[in-house]
């Protein structure tokens, strides 16, 4: 509260905080839709429309859209599904590709001019996808080994004297059922959260230095900050694609782990 009072009085620079991520309703008071929700809706539509156009009228000699669509899909198929799971993974390419392009689009919205907010920094989106991944790999494991067999395999690895199981079984359980989706969620969310915060800080800080603080020092330092924000934007784009890849890859690895026997 006091910080916003300071801002009004113009007594100094107020650095952006978690409040940056809270948006008012986009269409005035009372409307339910906020900017992150709009990004999710439009992003999903963009991905769906693009792949629909790419797959429609699929020809032996692909047109431009089909070529790009097939190359992108092929990337998920070859570099994620086949490498992480192997041949049985081909069944899961549709899911993995959907996750990858959905996340990549919502991440990239963080550096898209005029949009500039990574919708995935809202924890609900990564959390929901992580829960879906978690359900998928657990269901695969349970289907393959049966309910008892699956949990026995997970919680009671053979070769340990039985009293030690009391100590270890809860750890294995928590690590597989809770920590896996949780780390998937947090890794993505806070990479996006921190990246967006850094960008906002550099841009607002640079603007403040140039226009409010002024003087030779202010303008020089502000210019450096604004130029730095360009570099950081490029870097952020790299991180955003990487995190979408990591999320998808780990989902694939978990699925692969559930598909094959422990060695």
């Amino acid at each position: 509260m006091s910080s916003s009072v300071l801002a009004v009085e113009g007594e100094g620079f107020v650095s952006p905080g978690p409040g940056t991520f809270v948006y008012p309703p986009a269409f005035g008071e009372g409307s339910l839709v906020t900017k992150p929700m709009l990004i999710v809706i439009l992003g999903s539509l963009a991905v769906a429309v693009f792949f629909f156009l790419a797959a429609r009228r699929a020809a032996m000699v692909p047109g431009k859209t089909q070529f790009v669509g097939e190359s992108l899909y092929g990337f998920v198929r070859n570099s994620i599904a086949l490498e992480a799971i192997g041949k049985p993974g081909l069944k899961y390419v549709p899911y993995l590709a959907t996750v990858f392009f959905f996340l990549a689009t919502l991440n990239i919205s963080g550096i898209l001019p005029l949009v500039q907010f990574p919708a995935t920094s809202k924890i609900a989106i990564p959390l929901f996808l992580a829960v879906i991944s978690c359900v998928i790999f657990n269901v695969i494991g349970i289907k393959r080994e049966g309910l008892g067999g699956y949990f026995k395999h997970m919680m009671f690895p053979s070769g340990i004297p039985w009293p030690v199981y009391i100590l270890l079984a809860p750890i294995e359980f928590v690590s597989t059922i809770i920590i896996r989706p949780l780390t998937l969620t947090l890794r993505l969310t806070f990479n996006m959260f921190a990246g967006h915060l850094v960008l906002v800080l550099f841009i607002l800080g640079g603007e403040y230095l140039v226009f409010e603080y002024g003087g030779v020092v202010g303008i020089a330092a502000g210019t450096v900050a604004l130029l730095g924000s360009l570099v950081l934007t490029a870097f952020e784009g790299f991180v955003q694609l990487l995190q979408a890849y990591v999320f998808t890859l780990l989902s694939a690895l978990y699925i692969g782990g559930a598909l094959q026997d422990e060695h």
């Binding site: 490498e83 992480a84 750890i171 294995e172 928590v174 690590s175 920590i179 780390t183 890859l249 780990l250």
Partner: protein, 80 residues
């Protein structure tokens, strides 16, 4: 852009697959240590609340860390 499917398990392919598996192991190991600390640290915290003795929190944390590290060794450290 090569769009052929690398269905043949060439050497480079299996090497890269091994790299992916290593990545999964790294995250898996981290998860085990975190879970160990979380589970037994949590139990220690509950016991400490019950008995009004904060020593149990530390005991739980250390026990969990030890058990987690043991599991990491058991799962990933033994073979080869």
């Amino acid at each position: 852009m090569s769009s052929h499917a690398p269905d043949d398990s060439s050497k480079a392919e299996s090497d890269r697959a091994a790299g992916r598996e290593g990545e999964a192991d790294a995250y898996g190991a981290l998860g085990l240590v975190i879970s160990g600390v979380l589970v037994w640290g949590g139990v220690g915290f509950l016991v400490a609340e019950r008995l009004d003795n904060r020593l149990f929190v530390m005991l739980g944390l250390l026990l969990g860390m030890g058990a987690g590290l043991y599991l990491v060794w058991f799962r990933y450290g033994r073979q080869t």
